[in-house]
Amino acid sequence: MLANLSIHFPVLQVVVPLMAAPACLLLRQRGLAWGFAVLAMLVAFAISVALLYQVIAGGAISYALGGWEAPWGIEYRVDLLNAPLLMLVSGISAIALLAARTSIENEIPADRHTMFYIAWLLCTAGLLGILSTGDAFNVFVFLEISSLSAYTLIALGKDRRALWASYQYLIAGTIGATFILIGIGLMYVMTGTLNMADLAQRLPEVSSSRTVFTAFAFFMVGVCLKLALFPLHLWLPNAYAFAPSVVTAFLAATATKVAVYVLLRFVFSVFGYEFSFSHLPLQEILLVLGLLGIFAASIVAIYQTNLKRLLAYSSVAQIGYLILGISFANETGVMATLLHMLNHGLMKGALFLSLAAVVYRLGIAQLDQMHGLASRMPWTMAAFLIGGLSLIGVPLTVGFVSKWYLVSAALENGWWPVAALILIGSLLSVIYIWKIIEVAYFKPVSATTPDVQEAPLGLLLPMWMLVLANLYFGINTELTVGVSQLAAASLFGGAP
């Protein structure tokens, strides 16, 4: 029975959360809806784990939707590049959803909880859909499913500025998605196909035409808007700062990573390394914007006093590292990017969940209210500390592993100054993380610190799951490094 079902895993991965969403609407009662949503996400997570092991054992899986063979039908394709990301997205979504029940008690009115879970499931389904589909137009549709539900989730924030942030994100996101749509349309008109593998075969024949260049340009700008590459990041800090805390944890850990995946997929698999890096100055553009992003966003982060906003800017900086890895245009660089996508998901998830606990008790994560908070909420702040160390890149955490490969990729190209800049960028993150640790651990409890208790278990458990994942994958790197290495090799011409 399970063996028969396992053929359909690539599509079930998306369909389970997608169908669970309307089912939640029928359940109505918010406790039930939560339980059902968690169940659906756990099933999705189990499927993604099974898929990853299937891919490692037997190579890429191609699934013809409704039995219509590609390129006529829509193909779902799971390979080494997207299988670990499927696991990341479904895993983080499941863990953050576990924490959501407690966290949103104080942040969202009770009558909206059921709707909140529905939007959450739809958003997850959209993200998983982008990852597993092998069809260019399908990417656009799933992108809009995830974006529209993300706007809704952000607008549920309790501050009225959440509405404004959501509106700005909607405008920026729609422009990005429309650019992507133009890009896909122009690709179709030149090749007559929408299947990614088919596109990859037919694009080289027409690669000198201006239409293909235009398609590439529109597509890239659209994706960069979605992944918040500096200077197209303006929507991100407000959206993350004012969204409900668990939503921030979920989106920060997954949404931008999925956009980076789309970038990787189209630059390397669809347009091909030849086209992207030889005909166009993509390498220079990504290198400069990546570095600018790291420095500008890290420096702004140092001056923030709202912690959610601070970490949001830190996210923009981390996206800079991801883009930097791609700009090296060598195997180690892309591998570092893949690795950092997974690792950054784990650390930002842990950090934002610990902030969710702070917000749960204090109502707001403001630096001047956190004097000596570590004595009141020791477990929460310990989780924040470990997440912060991971963000900086201290050995024994996941952050160290990806920084290590990023620096070695820079050295492989002989770019000493870039390697030095990466290390200086890490020092900037030491400053902003230290600022918080100092206040929470070394300042005495002052009159401005509210008298609070440790966060409830419903928040601590999911938070520590992610913290332990940070440590586990920092020490036992076999799985993550191995898979990223193989995936990067396949992007550089090896058989996928």
């Binding site: 656009f140 529209l148 607008a155 509405l163 998605a177 749509l181 133009i182 008109v189």
Partner: protein, 117 residues
């Protein structure tokens, strides 16, 4: 292709730029959404033009006709239109909520209210 053959694409670009300009330049949230809709609609027209073949008819089997337009872009754009409607509806819903909590739909006034509190 003759000059006239590119007419559709000139219109598309013109509409797209007008829409984009409204999104950037207008301070009124509803007008911004109108600009956004115009921007999206121009892409719909682009897709529809892509599928049209000169002298071809609608892709319905008729006796004696051999040349048909390509229906695929048209089908794709039906999906995109639905997405566009959803986006506009969500955007307008947000504007209603913004109006309720800020009492205005002008960008600069919203900024002023956020600064003061």
């Amino acid at each position: 292709m003759s000059e006239f053959g590119l007419f559709n694409y000139w219109v598309v670009m013109l509409l797209m730029m007008i829409g984009f300009y409204i999104v950037i330049a207008q301070g009124n949230l509803v007008k911004k959404l109108i600009g956004l809709t115009l921007f999206q609609t121009s892409v719909f027209i682009m897709y529809i033009s892509l599928g049209k073949i000169e002298g071809a008819t609608a892709p319905i089997l008729i006796e004696g006709v051999t040349l048909y337009s390509n229906p695929l872009p048209h089908v794709l754009i039906l999906t995109a239109i639905v997405v566009g409607i959803a986006t506009t509806a969500l955007g307008l819903a947000l504007v209603v909520r913004i109006k309720e909590s800020y009492g205005t739909v002008e960008e600069d006034e919203i900024h002023a209210k956020d600064e003061s509190c």
